[in-house]
């Protein structure tokens, strides 16, 4: 097992370190490719074939098809490249936040407002 950068735990946070970068390498490489319109088109035309081209594992593929952001993080996804996937899905950062926290988008936005006002 590749050692974690740190033992310290952060609830609800997936430290993107060497262990995760290794585990998620293919997944992130695929998502990095989404910088290109041609790659996004190719994915949209046949998502499974595109995932196979990048040799994603079955677990990673399932998380991609399910738009399971937490699942993708567990599988070594880096939020930077997952954001490209979110872009392909036409989801913004509040949509992604809602998906990850199990809130509605409005609930998530309300939480942001409260947090930013220091009302926590």
């Amino acid at each position: 097992m590749t050692e974690r950068y740190a033992d310290r735990e952060f609830p609800g946070t997936y430290l993107f370190d060497g262990a995760m970068a290794k585990k998620g390498y293919a997944l992130n490489k695929m998502c990095y490719s989404f910088n290109e319109q041609q790659a996004r088109d190719e994915f949209n035309a046949d998502p499974e074939a595109y995932c196979n081209k990048y040799r994603l594992t079955d677990t990673q593929k399932k998380a991609i098809f399910d738009k399971d952001i937490i699942g993708l993080l567990r599988e070594g996804g880096s939020i930077y490249y997952l954001a490209k996937y979110a872009g392909l899905l036409k989801l913004n950062m509040q949509d992604i936040g809602a998906l990850q926290t199990g809130m509605s988008v409005d609930e998530f936005k309300d939480m942001l407002v409260k947090n930013a006002r220091g009302e926590v």
């Binding site: 950068y5 609800g12 060497g18 936040g97 930013a116």
Partner: protein, 282 residues
């Protein structure tokens, strides 16, 4: 001699580019954010800096984790943006300043900073959004930009004290440059935010405000945090504070705060704006 005349901190999130592209600056959501900027724009227009040294982080446009630099320095005469995955329209190129860039490279590598030196580098929203905020309508072509790109994605990343030391070395390098240039340093990104995980949406207003105070008057306090501390206190992407700290390291003389604004949330972040004046001590 080249002189650092001031510094700016600002958010760099892509949502700002969207808001500006769609003319949303006066909407209730965005107004308290954009209202902070005119004094900074006025100051820049008055001072007419020749060069901006801009600390930012790449979010997966130019650098992938196949080869991830801890610190990358641009030494080109021009930098291009590109599609970051969201199909945003192409914006004009950014003008570089290869000569001062190479001077900085020569000085700081000799001081033991292990830069990746880039003659060709696409720059993402982390660099372009701050420029467009200062010169709306992408009218930043007249100002020469030196990109300093810090890894804020993959651990291990530079610790705050290392980013500060890099800034100090860059500050010394600028001061030793024989040409008369007015330089302003930008620290971009932050402040507290977290995009990933069940903790997504985390913002720490109290920390952000304290951080802005300390950045001005006791920056060395901020260098005592580790990146893990920042994750805990400021969220997983709170490590973007490294860019502010790197900027602050460049300011070795007298620092005076001219203007500030704090507003949140914009998108998922707390947004801190600072305008600092810098006087060299000889």
């Amino acid at each position: 001699m080249a002189k650092i005349i001031g510094a700016v901190t600002t958010s760099h999130i892509p949502a700002i580019a969207n808001a500006m592209a769609n003319g949303l600056e006066e909407t209730p959501y965005w107004k308290p954010f954009f209202d902070g900027y005119p004094p900074v724009r006025d100051w820049l227009n008055e001072k007419q800096p020749d060069v901006i040294i801009l600390f930012y982080n790449d979010h997966g446009l130019e650098f992938f984790i196949d080869k991830k630099p801890t610190f990358a320095l641009g030494v080109a005469d021009e930098y291009h943006n590109a599609d970051e995955g969201w199909g945003i329209p192409t914006i004009p190129p950014v003008t570089g300043e290869s000569e001062l860039s190479w001077h900085i490279a020569n000085k700081v590598v000799d001081e033991g900073f292990d830069l990746t030196i880039c003659q060709e580098m696409r720059v993402d929203h982390g660099l372009t959004v701050p420029l467009n905020l200062m010169w709306p309508g992408h009218k930043y072509g007249h100002v020469k930009v030196i990109p300093v790109c810090i890894n804020c994605e993959q651990h291990p990343m530079p610790q705050p004290k290392r980013s500060y030391a890099l800034g100090q070395a860059i500050g010394r390098a600028v001061e030793s440059y024989p040409e008369d240039l007015k330089v302003v340093v930008f620290g971009t990104g932050g402040l507290s935010h977290q995009l990933d995980g069940e903790r997504a949406g985390f913002i720490n207003r109290e920390f952000d405000l304290k951080c802005m105070d300390q950045l001005v008057s006791e920056p060395e306090e901020l260098t005592k945090y580790s990146n893990l501390d920042l994750i805990e206190i400021a969220g997983a992407q709170g490590v973007e504070l490294n860019m502010w700290i790197g900027m602050r390291g460049c300011l070795t003389g007298k620092v005076t705060e001219l203007h500030r604004n704090y507003h949140g949330p914009i998108s998922n972040t707390g947004a801190g704006l600072l305008l600092l004046e810098h006087e060299h001590l000889d």
